[in-house]
Symmetry: C2
Amino acid sequence: MPTIHDVAKHAGVGSITVSRVINNSGYLSKETRARVEQAIAELGYVPNTLARSLRSKRTNTLALVLTDITNPFFTTLARGVEDAASKAGYTLIFCNSDESAMKESTYVNILLQKQVDGFLLVPAQSKTTTIELIHSRAVPVVVIDRAVPGIAVDVVRCDSEEGAFGLTRLLLELGHRHIACLCGPKGVSTADDRAAGFLRALRSAGIAPGRDCILRGELSQEGGYLMAQQALRMAHKPSALLAANNFITIGAMKAAQEAGERVPEDIALVGFDDLPAAMVTFPFFTVAIQPAYEMGRKATEILLQRLKSHGAERQHEEVIFPTQIIVRRSSGDSVMGLHPIG
Amino acid sequence: MPTIHDVAKHAGVGSITVSRVINNSGYLSKETRARVEQAIAELGYVPNTLARSLRSKRTNTLALVLTDITNPFFTTLARGVEDAASKAGYTLIFCNSDESAMKESTYVNILLQKQVDGFLLVPAQSKTTTIELIHSRAVPVVVIDRAVPGIAVDVVRCDSEEGAFGLTRLLLELGHRHIACLCGPKGVSTADDRAAGFLRALRSAGIAPGRDCILRGELSQEGGYLMAQQALRMAHKPSALLAANNFITIGAMKAAQEAGERVPEDIALVGFDDLPAAMVTFPFFTVAIQPAYEMGRKATEILLQRLKSHGAERQHEEVIFPTQIIVRRSSGDSVMGLHPIG
DNA sequence: CCACGGTATGGTATCGATACCATACCGACA
DNA sequence: TGTCGGTATGGTATCGATACCATACCGTGG
């Protein structure tokens, strides 16, 4: 592998001149530039980013650590991050924490070693530990999707509380009175917010939430399957289910099907986050959609601004996007014999 | 950010000794190790991978360049790669070439600059250019999913020809005589192989393939939609469709639905590659499945072996996995009034 | 008693680039 | 004419780690 010195020798110039050609910086005569460029082409020279970054203290790399790379919501978000990053000349490294705080901290450590310029983080639990670690190295970080109470940090997320309120309200308006919420684990802010919005909607309709109306489980198909089974076995079976994410929705659908319950005729089912068009033959589920791509883009822009302004300590931002409710078949029509509220 | 020298000073040892503690190499007394480890903890020292790699000429990083990160087939494959890589202590960098040879070469250049130790490549077209570039830098590379004729390189792929033969044979056995193949672009080896297997099955049944029975398009939902529309508008409308990948299958399904054709009653539809369980409520499509995860794992193992054996020029390997045909509803029952072959 | 191998540690050069400073030419202007 | 600023280029130190070699202690065996 030829180095910058080989190129310099070959072109008959100093290595610093080659550096100027590569980086398009400083003063350069047309002739020198041409000679250097020819030497680069002839030798097939590729600059060594490691050496460059070691000296310049900038890797031009951002890191995105998220919790589930198999979930289209996050891959769409990642796409938004990638597009914004590459437009600004940054490379992106993804890592998948699998909802595990341990994996998350392992990856963040590796990424710190790699000297990434900034972090985009979907925190596995809404804990501050990882963020504090990043802060302690004076690396900027923007948190996405989930709130992290108790620490000053930029956050881009969605209004989960309002989204859950809206979905629940929809079910109430259709006449449902007995609804179960299939929620993610405690401590994950989106799950907690959705539970809160659900409860607020019930109370706003004058309904006292039942003791077991909120179930907790994994944010996965398996989790949804288990929670739905549990809900369907309840003494007072709910007439509608609110699922906290797309995989839970699908798991719940499977459980309902196996139990011989038709959706939406026997039980209504609504959820959060769509599956992308490319994966779904017939859009069926009524959902609250979060603007995943836009969230990724916005978070990256904030991070890039932080990088530009460097030490200038601005106020931390919290950007909250609204959710959008899309009504499809799975919520069903009005429940007979019940008076819709509202 | 503390450096290795800060740690050394703080622990009262030479920096090389700190290096030995970090890397667990060479001779070390228990007491020195303990003192150094304490210093590391007290200062919150994180080694700088850039500097380490610059000197040691190893980044412990592999690169995976694939053509469509939104396709579950490739994310599953990526998972196989990641698991095998991280088990061996390697970090993985993903890149998405979007089926564009230009993006592919851009990314490969960036990755070469980053001095990755090895490449796993799904070539956008079955061209040799990118592979030659990587070879010219003496970096090992394993090609996945697609054959690249005309160059000596390790390849891990599936028997697409046989898979397409099997699916077509299945349709023939069900009585179909007029089948269209919704294929990917020319020059992509999997698409070409699938077309070839399709033709071989027709000929083996004594059927002369019609002039337009093979359609070419993008490996996407949109591509499948357009090709299926075209097939459905043919003078002699096919009674069955063979789709070259999962997204094409879904696009074809949509087109059939819009044209008022029921699947499988009015037209049978079979394809390649499943969608993961987490995305599908009701498994419906008859498909030839490729062992994506296993392919990623195997390719990574071959790459890691190359890295270990370093310069030792072994013969290049070509590993070809079989496909597995899973019969579900979309292929339908025997076509009435036609005698199945076989 | 000395040589030698195992153990433990350190000094210095080096990886490939850029930061910073120095140099030198040239025309313009006082 | 001397100086000054713009242009063009190069030399040297340096980023933070490891490779390589050197050093020194210790016990053991001839």
